[in-house]
Point group: none
Amino acid sequence: MQDSPLAMDGYSSNVPAFLTKLWTLVEDPETNHLICWSLNGTSFHVFDQGRFAKEVLPKYFKHNNMASFVRQLNMYGFRKVVNIEQGGLVKPERDDTEFQHLYFLQGHEHLLEHIKRKVGDLIQFLFGQLQSNPGSAGIKRKL
Amino acid sequence: MQDSPLAMDGYSSNVPAFLTKLWTLVEDPETNHLICWSLNGTSFHVFDQGRFAKEVLPKYFKHNNMASFVRQLNMYGFRKVVNIEQGGLVKPERDDTEFQHLYFLQGHEHLLEHIKRKVGDLIQFLFGQLQSNPGSAGIKRKL
Amino acid sequence: MQDSPLAMDGYSSNVPAFLTKLWTLVEDPETNHLICWSLNGTSFHVFDQGRFAKEVLPKYFKHNNMASFVRQLNMYGFRKVVNIEQGGLVKPERDDTEFQHLYFLQGHEHLLEHIKRKVGDLIQFLFGQLQSNPGSAGIKRKL
DNA sequence: TCCGTTCTAGAATATTCGCTT
DNA sequence: GAAGCGAATATTCTAGAACGG
């Protein structure tokens, strides 16, 4: 792989690194045995969390922990897809984790721009207060 | 050096020294192993920051610090190009830093004139206010 | 290393990882040629930034950039010690950077607990507002 | 005046840990 | 018990500020 389509025109898009890396990861046929699109392209699977964490993650991120990867997924609004057989009594035949996001769709890389990183509720609340308080204009600008 | 090509067409171009030095630096085939144009000529790469800082910078500037060089780049509106393969735990094969500016293009030296040194945001804001406020003529003269 | 001496006396010390790593780094005789205490033990020196960044930093941190190391130092209130001879025209004989903090003293590891990480001015201001505003108790509890 | 160099800080994302639901 | 989240620190990129020429 040479250039990501997102970064090919010389100026950087405002899509956070996590999303472009995730996209690259899921697309890359080299790692399809560990992470790949679902059949209909609306979600992605991680097989064998252990190997995925130790072999794939450190190539793109500054860690090798599945938990940190999942934390980022949640920060960007991805949700785990719960499979029926996973919750049952019979042990699933495969270590298979699935995540989904409305704007993470195979063949629609431009939709990544609509995936927004969450911000803490406290910060959001305080920002709202500042917005509605005319007296805080000076503080906002300078602080 | 006698005449800069930038100043040969009858009107004096006031391109700051930093930009002409940067251009010379990137063009110079002698230092292409440490700093050179990207393949398509829309950005430039610095390889091996340490050697670049100690060997190349002092030939053009009054320092040998990568940090000061980067500060100048940002002052003139250059942005770092973030590569996806860097940023992992596993060290990339090459120490490669890339910067880009809309008007820093291989083969278009005359565009350097459009690269403007930034002034502080606060100063910029105040200047904008003065521009749109007719009553501030006296202030404008003094400030 | 089993137990940090900081946590052995019955109460848990919450010294951030950066400070304990920095302490270990400066103390370690193996790396004294790149980072070590000053003669009187009130500051520390980094020699040869380039080698320090590439060889030492990644053993303790998830990066190999001097700039990131310096950002952390400033976050914790360390200040660069400016040497007279470094600013002169004659090139200094050695690449020597020195940092200091009131509570970073050789032989007094327990003082690390007094080094506080800085927090943004805006956050600090907003927190102060919440503290002095009784009506925000519910928000504080829930958010 | 504007530019150059240095040191420090802002701001956004990234990583980790522990709690809540 | 697992999924999701809050909060603190960590890393990166850019900007502020002071000073000198």
